[in-house]
């Protein structure tokens, strides 16, 4: 069974994400986001090899990068789904301990070229949503 370790500042960052979600969108939204962050960390601890193999998680020089949206499948349906999660976990595995080094907005990690591509995709999805509305 894996242990989880958060630097004090990272724990405060997660608390801050939950607080801002709570204040902006309410308790249920905060619970959904909390469940997703926890699920993603658990995902990393329990099936890191598969996530790396399929490219859902990436690792270089020991540092693991994992977008929390990939943890959606682990969140019980009753809790509900986060529409567009926007955070990435930075972690490393130390023995049986998953160390969550930081949780950051995804845009902070992207190269300029891929950021433009992501914006382009977001605009396309928004257009499709608008057309369907």
């Amino acid at each position: 069974m894996a242990r989880f370790r958060y630097p004090t500042e990272t724990e405060a960052i997660v608390n801050g994400i939950l607080a801002s979600t709570f204040n902006e969108f309410g308790e249920l939204a905060a619970l959904r986001y909390q469940a997703l962050i926890s699920a993603a960390a658990q995902d990393l601890a329990e099936r890191l090899a598969a996530l790396l193999r399929y490219g859902l998680a990436k690792r270089r020089d020991g540092l693991i990068v994992y977008h929390i949206r990939h943890g959606k499948g682990r969140v019980p349906r009753a809790i509900g789904r986060v529409g567009k999660p926007r955070h990435v976990i930075l972690a490393e595995l130390r023995g049986d301990c998953m160390v969550v080094l930081n949780v950051v907005p995804d845009w902070m990690l992207t190269t300029e070229a891929s950021a433009e591509q992501a914006h382009s995709t977001a605009r396309r999805i928004q257009r499709q949503d608008d057309e369907q509305a």
Binding site: M1, F4, E27, R60, G73, D106
Partner: protein, 96 residues
């Protein structure tokens, strides 16, 4: 897939096609596993990671761990309960 319908995004289909082109085939079980992961995650292609930024953003966390400034959970349930309690305290604070 057990009679279920799976939607595959264009990006995911392109990824699968690339795997086949590279001669990387999977067993049936693996195909089902990855298909379910892709389906559940509603995967889009992840943006390219800027590893210099990633390591910079992880540096403070590593330093804190080295100094022993961390909180540790014995398992996923303990981690989950801890962050749920944070939300409960927010709720209590609002009610007070």
């Amino acid at each position: 897939m057990d009679g279920h319908t799976a939607k595959l995004s264009v990006d995911a289909a392109r990824w699968a096609s690339e795997q086949v082109e590279q001669g990387r085939f999977m067993s049936t079980d693996e195909v089902v596993e990855v298909a379910m992961m892709l389906f559940r995650a509603e995967i889009e292609s992840d943006p390219e990671v800027d590893w210099a930024k990633a390591h910079a953003l992880a540096a403070d966390g590593r330093a804190q761990i080295a100094r022993g400034e961390y909180i540790e959970f014995k398992d996923a349930a303990a981690m989950d309960a801890h962050f749920k309690a944070v939300i409960q305290s927010l709720k209590d604070g609002r009610a007070a």
